[in-house]
Symmetry: C2
Subunit: 480 residues, 2 copies
């Protein structure tokens, strides 16, 4: 394919993309097929000779689309949102053509520098404390990670390294292995599974902190666990707080937890993967109070800030902490400017070495929406969630299972877990809307998350009519 053909096919693809998103509502949101469906639809080996573009694009509708769970459909209410916006796609297209791998400043200065400045822009939108902003001479700063899982892991590894060095400084005879075996990390029992995974990767113990009635961790509970562990000879070193948990969007009490972590030399990382985007709105910003105690903070603009995956924003207070975690410096990656204070080599901030030019899509989105446009997007989702909450509350057969603060509504039929499992099964099998469950206080709960940017009030009303219709059928079947 030469440039001339790309000009033609690229423009056709732009139309296909726009058509797909404009007419997405006509597609069943969740596919109706059996595992292994795709293999029989295509050859078992790559072709020897080139095929035509027509052949390929025809196969997109024949092979791919039947197997897509349409995350951008206004009838998709599962997991949390995955952002998709036209400006972000344009930024990504440009990034694809530039095709640079920005692991160091020299590998493409614009790729590194735009990222640092975009993270500053975003940090200022969130009103993060000054210590997290890179500026021209700050000690902190931001980085784009692929996912929140990687941010959690990077923070844990940096904390592990810092704790080992600290213990070794006062007990030079202790081996690293001995110290490692005493390190203990903490997170909410409601925290995302990736936090537990980070501890497994890092080879450290992880203790789950029980939550209060609102599914949040309070200061005294952590304090007590830390005291017990210290008395048992363990070394508390890392706490991952969650702002907006995955099951119910609960908010740990970081104003209580932060001072405890600071006193105890425990690295506090805040995972606000979903909820973080909302902190750009003044009315939600108080939920971030206490961030000043954190060593690192992370959220996913690719969830709720209209920037396509992957774009997970992470800030650290002291960049030396994260860089120092495992700096390895071979000659083929050295460059003249690397000792300068203005230069950031992002490869030291992350697990992978290579990195795409992802700040381009942030730049496009921030400028094409403006802060006001981004706030409007967040507020619309919250209003839609409140609308759904009212519908649920007005129906005495149902109950709301957690306070609705942002775009997630946790609800269930009053009754057994089996009843609710059957309701979800009916919903999934109808293919009209898509939800996933969670567990809260031993209850099987349905999560209704506002996801697509095209979701409107009519979709909420339709979804509720659909759910109540299936409930009616289910209760009839059950009573027979």
């Amino acid at each position: 394919m030469d440039a001339a053909e790309f000009r033609r096919r690229g423009k056709e693809m732009v139309d296909y993309m726009a058509d797909y998103l404009e007419k997405i509502e006509q597609r069943p949101v969740y596919p109706d097929l059996e595992p292994g469906y795709l293999r029989s639809l295509i050859p078992s080996e790559a072709p020897l000779e080139p095929e035509t573009y027509e052949d390929i694009i025809k196969d997109v509708e024949r092979v791919i689309m039947p197997g897509i769970t349409h995350w951008q459909s206004p009838n998709f209410f599962a997991y949390f949102p995955a952002s998709c916006s036209y400006p972000a796609m344009l930024g990504d297209m440009l990034s694809g053509a530039i095709g640079c791998i920005g692991f160091s400043w020299a590998a493409s200065p614009a790729c590194t520098e735009l990222e640092t400045v975009m993270l500053d822009w975003l940090g200022k939108m969130l009103k993060l404390p000054e210590c997290f902003i890179a500026g021209t001479d700050g000690h902190g700063g931001g980085v784009i990670q692929s996912t929140a899982s990687e941010a959690t892991l990077m923070a844990l590894l940096a904390a592990r390294c810092k704790a080992i060095r600290r213990v070794k400084a006062t007990n030079p005879k202790k081996s690293e292995a001995e110290i490692l075996s005493k390190l203990v990390a903490y997170t909410s029992e409601q925290a995302h599974s990736s936090v537990e995974r980070a501890a497994l990767i890092g080879g450290v113990m992880m203790r789950k902190v029980p939550t209060d009635k609102s599914y949040a961790v309070a200061g005294d509970v952590l304090k007590k666990m830390v005291e017990e562990d210290k008395a048992a000879g363990l070394i508390p070193f890392y706490f991952c707080a969650t702002l907006g948990t995955t099951p119910s969007c609960a908010f740990d009490h970081i104003t209580e937890l932060g001072p405890i972590c600071n006193e105890e030399n425990i690295w506090m990382h805040i995972d606000a993967a979903y909820a973080g985007s909302a902190f750009i709105c003044p009315e939600f910003r108080p939920l971030l109070n206490g961030v000043e105690f954190a060593d690192s903070f992370n959220f996913n603009p690719h969830k709720w800030l209209l920037i396509n995956f992957d774009c997970s924003a992470m800030w650290v207070k002291k960049r030396t902490d994260i860089i120092g975690a495992f700096k390895v410096e071979p000659l083929y990656l050295k460059h003249e400017n690397q000792e300068s204070g203005l230069v950031t080599d992002y490869r030291h901030w992350q697990i992978p070495l290579g990195r795409r030019f992802r700040s381009l899509k942030m730049w496009f989105v921030f400028r094409m929406y403006g802060l006001n446009g981004l706030q409007a997007h967040v507020r619309k989702h919250v209003a839609l969630a409140k609308e759904f909450e009212s519908l649920v509350r007005a129906d005495k057969r149902f109950e709301i299972c957690a306070e609705v603060i942002m775009g997630l509504v946790c609800f269930r039929l009053k009754g057994s877990n089996e009843l609710n499992q059957n309701l979800l099964k009916k919903i999934t099998e109808s293919h009209e809307i898509h939800l996933v469950p969670c567990q809260l206080s031993g209850n099987f709960v349905l999560r209704f998350a506002i996801c697509a940017s095209s979701t409107e009030s009519r979709h909420i009303q339709q979804a509720w009519r659909h759910i109540t219709q299936l409930t009616f059928e289910l209760l009839q079947e059950t009573s027979h």
Copy 2:
């Protein structure tokens, strides 16, 4: 930006992308600017109100392009190639519009199933042993990782978990911490820095194995180290072999190393990040002989197989080994089909949870080029490297520092390291071509890697004329 505007702007962007790549030779390959250049060119905060698209696209030339190291320029000979092709960009555009997050089969069946089949296609192109192919009932299979660094780390973590379980099975009283402190991993002293980093992350010892005259690891050297370590009470558990090292594209002797690893219960991972693409050509496939002894194998189609970053292909012989490394399964990620043998939940195969629909770009590239087209691409690069090698060999002032097998030529001026450092400085400051150095046997060496798909014989000839002109100037200055 609504769909109508995206149709217009998207088509303009397609033209911009094609223009950029068609005229890239006119741009200086390496930017001439000081660190911190970008911050002063744009506002210090995001705008409140939306800006126009015209404003943004104008800024691409004003702000971004002056700071780009043009990896796709035919005058770029640094690091290793970063693939960029029109079919891959079309696949990525489609992936952006679909915007699914394929962490599990249910999260988008097509995203998972196409990936499994594409990794089978690619595995067959490489003639990987059957045990690495997923098929409909294989025990092995492939996955797309973001980078080779992540593949190396995943393999090390799987090996660590397997070793701990094995030791615990015969010594139930040993603690995990105790076992962990005895584990020892190995890799070539020429291996990529990310291998050392994987050991740091995994909290295990890493020993660097000395190489022979061709910068490759031989079996007897590893054997001796393993014996010594076992005698000292350590537990050898992981060896990362390299096929095509970063400094000089050397090939470890895996036919010797593999049987040793198998005998000693050492997980052998093969990192062929750059060179792996060449194994689709029958004439290079013998270099992969011995892969049958490996537990996992990885290379980067995003380097040399015309698939845009990120696309690092990894295969494992036993998928249970890698999945078992840290499976954490919360309710909100469970789905009905997950117990079936046909279902793959790729989140268990990787560090991040979320994942883009990256197999689309593989599918587009494999079909638009065909195996023959991909082989032609590899062969063209190797021929260009040989052409450059001949030019160097014909000039008695220079020497070739390592056998030229693929698209990389390591060379230097006969003389001091300082002389060669000064030559590279001149090359970098001229901004006409771009190279990076490496160190071989204590010598400062220049690496000349064929990178762009648009590089032709005339660029090689021009580059050599440029280098000899700068050499002439340098030697004149030095003699004064």
